[in-house]
Subunit: 652 residues, 3 copies
């Protein structure tokens, strides 16, 4: 299904009915409204104006559209900030209060704000929880965007102290857990604990990890209160979702954040995110993808979100043209809006909603394209949406959960926190390590699931890649033990205890049950100063992060320049002790896929495959046609044996 | 005429008479004193010491020099800051008070400071307003230097609220004008408005534009009060000027700032400004100009200042050797001080005053060269000033207004604010767009006037270039309509309303009267990832900022790589929808000059021409001799047919 | 002798005895403990727990180890910060209080902290000042690390005003000394003086120089109070030292800081410091040294520290493997821990102590290697320490002062401050200028002493290099006059008065007694835009900082591209007026060494020599063997005629 984001409050009321008719005629089924509209709903504390929203919903519903209601807690109005200035967050770099005038100016630890946000959410749910045109809810908007997870506010400090008291029970336990004997950092009581900011040099990593856990829990708690407020009043047929930004960018536990939702939504801006991701890429690297996005970036986020979602998932906001917020904002290549839409469905989406109906000529996002131009004429994307709306009919039912893939990548938020907190080498980034595996698998035409450590079951996967699992808790350990596929661990796995110490008996700690090795030393190198790793007589780069390992009963499958072991295997488990180049990863994964019985289809950089049910989707990111890698006898549902530039083919 | 900046308070009184005699003997006519001397004039509030200044003026005047008096408001003394700390400005990045200890530590919105500054200014004017040796006044010094236009002070907040109340009348009007319905940014009253700083993400561009207008008006108001204070006491023969820094760097409305002056002065530091401008240039690009300055940068500022000035204009401070404030501070090439001096006169200056008489051995500027070294011996520039003083006799009267050029570039401050506020593409800079046109015209040997949108009359120009005119107000519109020359609009012209919305009916809004097109989409690209624009079968770069246009009844004169229109013409008006390379601009301008009857003389990068009256000046920036591009029969006033390295030729 | 740093409080008490036995068995003689342990010694104000430390010392001593006690003032515990928040420093960039949670969170100007620090230091000294196992004391730890020399605290402001009142006597004197007439910066009283931070543009350099002197004196005063507190209670056989970081990085007067010590110690981290130093080097430049460190960086600091020390000096902390704090943290090449150890002895060390005994698995430094791994097994360095412990026997007595070298480099802190305060050219760095001379001399196989201006006697040196001596005070002047060797002054020598004015009669001021020249102008260039300097018909680069000089009765020995003098000589004194390339410096120094009778041995970049007494040490930094440059008949004490990769040879 398709949908669109709409802001009736931005337009004269006489536009509404025509807009609704055109939406429906275009083939859109859903329309999201309401998030950001707090100021128009609650004019001052407790004084509500529902009339306009009643009429808007009625008008949209009357045209045959299903309404998704966004709760407006991302934009507390000025009267609220003026009355309760303690709701404002505090910048962790500068110590400055982050004030009113844009959005997300609230502190997740503010009790005042929690109460106010719950109140407006409950009020909306009470009013529209039984409304026949309202099919579901979106909480807030893009939680944690604009670096809002962490705050240095008095409210955060108070709550963090309480969090510590609850987690550790008594201060001696905390001191021991964090190793506060180091540098005389021991506290006499929880009321002495500060936030880990504004110190002379780096704070205790255990302190920071505790704060990161706390900050994540604050967001989750806020969000859960909002979900509960909706569910108290909404009918059982109304679902609740949230539109998340790229999961790796928020610094929170996305599993916890989304567990109380009916499904998860994602805001998909391939060009803006790629411009940021590839900011330091050369012109040669960037030019082929500046109007398509990096070939694996949207897919990465699609697969990540599918992993979080209870069922099929949504794209709640789909880029329809140039956006306004990246350093450079190119126009999508012709056909890419359709391409991205079909790509989302290939990766398991149930609905793709475009952001936004009509480009608004004022305020912060006036340079952000819509389906309509500010002069109410169709923008470039319009015809592509028309096309894909028709094509949707051919795809069949997309509301069901997509089947599992054969290959899984295991992820967890703690590894990202560990990386942020203890970089050790400027060339190491958890996200980049993970992305490298993903890109290589995608270039081999392999479908990938992301599974969260400790949550998901791994039993159906033939190959499980653990790029890094810095902390192995009981749940993750049990999950890994219960798996049956080949297991590939990357460096830094099992490196730390839950309280950010080096693992007992050296890394990989309890992962030694899988691979009997000890990481005796780690070195980090400049990215341009590599050593080597040799695998099957081919020499590759070994760099950035390199571990020295002592091995027990393992097979050494790759070696460093000094013949020391660089990758080892024990039974179905492998441990790669270094970061390396794409070619090494590809060679290794080709071998592992062959062993595991995972079919591969090596692809050029501008061609990608994805299966959903019995359909195979092929995506051509090149500006020239390409032959679809379809088997003989394939029945084409969309497109044909030659895929046009930026085109898509789907066959059965 | 020539002059010099002098600080009698820096030197023992026994130096003064000898200094004065030497100035006069060197051929200097004017001497500027007094700016920065507040602490020596007013020792505590209301307690004045005029005696030393009386003697200084008397001594200088007695030697035949005309005195220009600077009012000292750029440096409020410590007693004033200590007594009235509310005069201090607040940094808009950090929120910190910017304290005493350097200069410009005052807030343009402080009523206290306005009163104090008016008081010292009036006191000086009262004392010297009839003095026979005092011929004129310089207000303050380099207003807005050191990023002082904007302040986050309580005074600025209070005045900004009042400004908004006055401009918009009621809060509903402001909310509507700014589009505050977006993100629930609506205010209930003017007392809720904040300064647009310290928010979570970007503030409303309309909010920021209002603040930029306000900040500019605060500076202008402060300045106007100072001018009035002088005029109340000064005799009618005493003129008032102000020494501005490069107009594009202050972020204010220079037309408004300078309108109450008798003429405008400029502080000319070609090497320091060029080192900053070309900071990222390669060594090959920079080396030829590191001791001459960029060939068109000083000229750009000369022509800009001439455009602002009521009559001929002054260089109030001319770099005489290495300065102290750029990242690198080379020595001028031999002859460049003379060269720059003659260049200023070629561009219409009436006087060039050197900064400063003698290098002072102490405090912040001790590494800044003067005409004399700290040991009182002539510095390198001395002989060049002697030479040019003699050559001045040959030039004739330079006090009159320079005649108009045939080509005008239209500028306005709002386009710069729009660029600052809504960058959209990291490769777009209003100043750079404007500078590209200017450099190409100068390389064609064409004289250029800068005219301010809405102020100047355009009727005598054969070719008018509008690099960008983001907001087209009535005055600018009428001026353009009343013009008769060829009109070339660059991209983003007519893009915004006065309140920073997208223009009605899409850009270029009311400029559609000139060129019937619609800008339906904008894309911004990385500077190294261009598309193309084809003009007369030559393919050029099209990049950074590219507009898609729908065209009415126009001629398409250049096209993008997909054959879509990239430049169009309707009657005498052209619209170029993209940024492009120098070669395209040159090809187009060569054609337009030919059509308009503007003579061109293509020049190498190290040779520049400029006419004043019946004189033609040629400036050789190369370290080798060059033939003067003079017509047969030219009569050389200065130099001859072969121009020496770094030399100048003037012919009639 | 060898030693190790140990933290009994980090480990279960049952480890202690075994640890002590293993230390002794490994060949270690000294063990440093106690610094950072404040929180375990003084649990709340005045409440001490000595028992554990008594037992630790007893256990270590019983195993035959000599204990060095560190006073714990680098880490005030939380109860102290909570009770006396005025002890915290304030960041000079942001104005924020730098809080508890890491280390060095105290203000050198806080009277409260001075009293508290003196109290804990005296208490320790009282308890252990006569202890038979305690042989000496280390004050605090790495004073001024983490940019803690300067603070913008109220305490610093109050003390700075008092400092100014004492130094200048009356405010008129200060105003005159600083040249405050410039920009109306004159004060009416000392209570008006601010710290030189948070202003609109740069403050008066004289103001900043005064603050730098003050800040240095605050550190020295604090340190002297601590030393006195120890000496009041400690027996005369117990010595006092301090472990300094690279002397050039603290911004203080290291001579003053260390004068009351018995000897000076240094913390040697060759890889971390080199990664920082060579951060912008190409991969080709960096790769050969990433596992050895820059060939001259550790040596530079060794020689600097030897210059400060009263007798032989110590390495108090020696890197034994990868560290945790540089941007990249490679593993040392095999043998480098032994190599660095012997290098320290070659440069005059009396003891090398490794940091640390066992890698601690928790808190900030858990990724910092030790001699033992966290699993208590020997780390890589262990075997190298075993080897070097045996080799120590062959070296003989290393407790005596190393003999003087023939070549001296004169250094002083004020030149560094002048450079920080008035950069003038982005390509000029005092430290880099000094380092260039040092590296060239080391590449010629020449031993170098660093002598501090005004302190040391120069009479025995054949060649004295003064890279820059910006301010020449009486003591330095007398020292130079009393010297007899060749004297080479670099640019900017004699440039400033003690109050940061240009020297009387132009630079080099009173150094004109040595070289009768006047620096009439200075230019600074981009590092990639050089001019030339010609010496003996060879053309070299002249760049970054170039002075124009007027010469008296001198020989011009090198010239600029315009034949102006670039280097001159008068008797035994030379003045080089420009920065230049290594080849020029090498050519000049080869000639000067020949004239002075200093033997040279030109070396490749990966080979270095150093003599101590009758021993010659050769250090091979290459990964291949090299022939030792030993004379015929050399008797090898360590190694032989072929030095193994990363190896060392010592001969007599």
């Amino acid at each position: 299904m398709l949908g669109v984001c709409y802001y009736p409050e931005h337009w004269p009321e006489e536009y509404w009915a025509r807009d609704a008719r055109r939406m429906h005629a275009l083939g859109l089924s859903y329309v999201r409204i309401g998030e950001f509209a707090w100021g128009r709903i609650e004019k001052s504390e407790g004084v509500f104006d529902w009339a306009w929203m009643d009429r808007a919903i009625e008008t949209l519903g009357a045209a045959g559209l299903k309404v998704v209601l966004g709760t407006p807690t991302a934009t507390p109005p000025k009267w609220l900030c003026a009355k309760y200035p303690d709701i404002l967050p505090v910048d962790i770099q500068t110590g400055q209060v982050r004030g009113f005038g844009s959005r997300r100016h609230y502190d997740f630890s503010s009790e005042t704000y929690l109460r106010q946000a719950e109140s407006i959410t409950a009020a909306m749910a009470e009013r529209y929880g039984q409304h026949p045109h309202v099919v579901g809810w979106q909480t807030d908007n893009e939680l944690c965007c604009h670096d809002t997870t962490m705050s240095a506010s008095p409210a955060a400090l108070e709550k963090f102290r309480a969090y510590c008291a609850k987690r550790y029970g008594n201060i001696e336990t905390l001191n021991a857990a964090w190793g506060n004997v180091f540098w005389s950092m021991e506290y006499d009581g929880f009321d002495q604990i500060d936030l880990p900011f504004f110190t002379v040099c780096e704070t205790n990593p255990a302190h920071r990890l505790a704060y990161r856990r706390f900050a994540s829990e604050q967001v989750v708690h806020f969000h859960d209160v909002m979900i509960s407020a909706i569910r108290r009043h909404a009918g059982p047929e109304q679902w609740v979702t949230h539109n998340i930004i790229p999961p790796a960018t928020t610094g929170i536990d996305n599993v916890a954040l989304t567990q109380a939702l009916d499904f998860v939504s994602y805001d998909n801006y391939p060009l803006g995110f790629s411009d940021q991701l590839m900011a330091t890429a050369s012109a040669e690297e960037w030019r082929p993808f500046m109007r398509t996005g990096h070939p694996d970036l949207a897919a990465l986020n699609f697969d990540s979100v599918r992993g979080l979602s209870k069922g099929a998932w949504w794209v709640m906001e789909q880029q329809p043209g140039p956006v306004n917020w990246a350093p450079h904002n190119p126009r999508p290549a012709p056909g890419m809006v359709r391409h991205w839409t079909l790509q989302a469905f290939a990766h398991g989406a149930a609905c793709v909603a475009y952001f936004r109906w009509r480009q608004v000529p004022f305020a912060q996002e006036q340079m952000h394209a819509g389906l309509l131009r500010p002069d109410d004429m169709p923008a470039t994307a319009w015809a592509e949406v028309e096309q894909v709306a028709a094509e949707m009919q051919l795809l069949g039912d997309v509301s069901a959960v997509a089947p599992k893939a054969s290959v899984a990548i295991l992820i967890d938020p703690v590894s990202g926190w560990v990386d942020d907190i203890e970089r050790q080498g400027a060339g190491y980034r958890y996200d980049a390590v993970l992305f490298q595996y993903y890109c290589v698998l995608r270039s081999l035409g392999v479908d990938v699931d992301f599974v969260s450590a400790g949550e998901a079951r791994l039993d159906s996967y033939k190959l499980i890649i653990v790029p890094t699992l810095a902390v192995v808790d009981d749940a993750a350990f049990d999950t890994l033990r219960a798996s049956e596929g080949l297991l590939l661990f990357g460096p830094r796995s099992g490196a730390k205890t839950a309280e950010f110490s080096i693992s007992e008996g050296l890394p990989p700690g309890r992962l030694r049950e899988f691979v009997p090795i000890k990481v005796t030393s780690v070195e980090t190198l400049r990215p341009d100063c590599n050593g080597t790793i040799t695998y099957k007589n081919e020499v590759h780069e070994s760099g950035r992060w390199r571990e020295t390992i002592e091995v027990g009963a393992v097979d050494v499958i790759a070696t460093y320049e000094d013949d020391a072991p660089a990758a080892v295997r024990s039974g179905r488990s492998l441990y790669l002790a270094t970061l390396t180049d794409d070619a090494f990863i590809k060679n290794l994964l080709v071998d592992l896929c062959a062993e595991a019985g995972v079919a591969i289809t090596p692809l050029p950089p501008t061609l990608r495959l994805r299966r959903r049910g019995d359909l195979t989707f092929a995506f051509n990111l090149a500006d020239s046609a390409v032959n679809a890698p379809a088997p003989n006898g394939a029945v084409f549902i969309i497109g044909g044996a030659e895929i046009e530039p930026f085109g898509v083919a789907v066959w059965r």
